[in-house]
């Protein structure tokens, strides 16, 4: 067993040398395996810290939203490195592509988040500032509390209630959100949004017809896997999916930070 581990380390060291990587000892140390995801006493996956512990979901593996599999370079604000990549970001209708390009060309200066409008939809899950996902068994709900943007929250009803008739309600920033479990995956379906926010920092358009299906899972203690399917037939030619992972910040707390017009004020 010990010889086998030594051989593995030697092989890793040899491979590190082959690709020109650093020859420091750190590069040959196998990564520490993450702990399994914590669970509630009833066996359900816990997306938050264990009792007595602290932590939150921090850095996302992406800085903006784009269709799964697309190869597009963007900065941390969702600004494309090349405007020619715009059609690859999502399956836009012609007007939506023109509007996305317009927003990109003017440097995203019309972003409603600059006026402290909520980074609603999937945007708050890749916005700097972190978030927590908390189960509330008393009211059979999940809360997503986020520290980025205007430091807000969303409520996911887990009690099986039906969404309201869209003809009878005005769209809101967070819409109506209903969740259920598929094994260890939390599936949240939402609709009833208004169109006064950008659901990505890069300026992807949407209309009030927007419907989102989000899938949250925690494959290990340190990782949140997130997938969202965007369905808005008035804006996109077909439903499309984006995905990313988010790192757990163990022992940390979401920093106190508040949004003021055109800037974020923090600690």
């Amino acid at each position: 067993m010990r010889h086998s581990r030594m051989a593995t380390l030697l092989l890793a060291a040899a491979l590190a040398g082959c690709d020109g990587a650093s020859d420091s000892a750190a590069s040959v140390t196998p990564p520490e395996a993450s702990k399994p995801a914590p669970r509630y006493p009833d066996g359900q996956i816990r997306f938050d810290a264990e009792p007595g512990g602290r932590g939150y979901w921090g850095r996302a593996s992406v800085s903006s939203l784009f269709e799964k599999g697309a190869q597009v370079a963007m900065d941390e604000n969702g600004l494309l490195a090349s405007i020619g990549d715009a059609p690859r970001v999502a399956p836009f209708q012609p007007w939506a592509l023109a509007l996305y390009e317009y927003r990109q060309r003017n440097g995203l200066k019309d972003d409603p988040a600059r006026a402290c409008i909520a980074p609603a939809g999937p945007r708050h899950l890749h916005t700097a500032g972190g978030f927590r996902i908390i189960r509330d068994p008393t009211y059979d709900r999940m809360y997503v509390l986020f520290g980025g943007g205007n430091r807000n929250w969303r409520v996911v009803f887990m009690d099986g209630r039906e969404p309201p008739n869209p003809e009878e309600v005005s769209g809101t920033y967070f819409g109506h959100q209903a969740g259920h479990w598929e094994g260890d995956t939390l599936v949240v379906e939402s609709s009833g949004y208004n169109a006064r926010f950008w659901f990505s920092n890069g300026g992807l358009p949407h209309t009030e017809a927007l419907r989102l299906t989000e899938r949250f899972s925690r494959p290990d203690f340190d990782t949140l896997k997130y997938e969202v399917t965007v369905d808005d037939s008035l804006t996109y030619t077909r439903p499309w999916t984006a995905e990313w992972t988010v790192e757990w910040v163990d022992g940390g707390e979401i920093a106190e930070r508040f949004c003021e017009d055109h800037k974020s004020v923090g600690e």
Binding site: Q93, P94, W95, L97, A98, L99, Y102, R103, N106, K109, D110, P112, R114, A115, C116, I117, N194, A195, R196, P205, H206, T207, E208, A209, S233, L234, T235, D261
Partner: protein, 136 residues
């Protein structure tokens, strides 16, 4: 009875209300909504001194814009692609209540603003008139 103290409070309340209203309007002015033509537009057509007020309501259905000119008993309805996104031009073709063709050709400007504008011409009975409106 209005005492000096209640007068001060009223004045303070009025100022606070004004500040809040300004903030709300400032936020709304920066907001945008989905399809750029969706919503209610108000403006006028015609030359100086002989203008007609007009209200147009438009709604995108994914393929066409369905609209109404002057909603009410004398409404004129239209439907069509209307928007050319490559250059943000708008063309509305309709027929007045007395059967005259109406053609509106306009340019969409200030797209990033909630109160974006349409400026161009309103052609009716073979005559071109200036036309302008803003989204409410």
């Amino acid at each position: 009875m209005r005492t000096p103290i209640t007068g001060d409070i009223m004045s303070l309340l009025a100022k606070c209300t004004g500040v809040v209203l300004c903030l709300v309007l400032a936020v709304a002015a920066r907001s945008q909504e989905g399809f750029p033509l969706d919503g209610t537009w108000r403006g006028e057509w015609g030359a100086d001194g002989n203008t007609s007020a007009v209200v147009i309501v438009m709604k995108w259905d994914g393929k066409n814009v369905n609209g109404m000119i002057n909603p009410g008993p004398n409404v004129v309805r239209f439907s069509g692609p209307v928007l050319e996104p490559s250059n943000w031009t708008v063309r509305i073709e309709a027929q007045s209540r007395d059967g005259q063709p109406i053609v509106i050709d306009a340019k969409l400007d200030d797209i990033g603003s909630y109160n974006r504008t349409l400026t161009g011409s309103w052609k009716q009975a073979g005559v071109d008139h200036p036309f302008k409106m803003a989204r409410e």
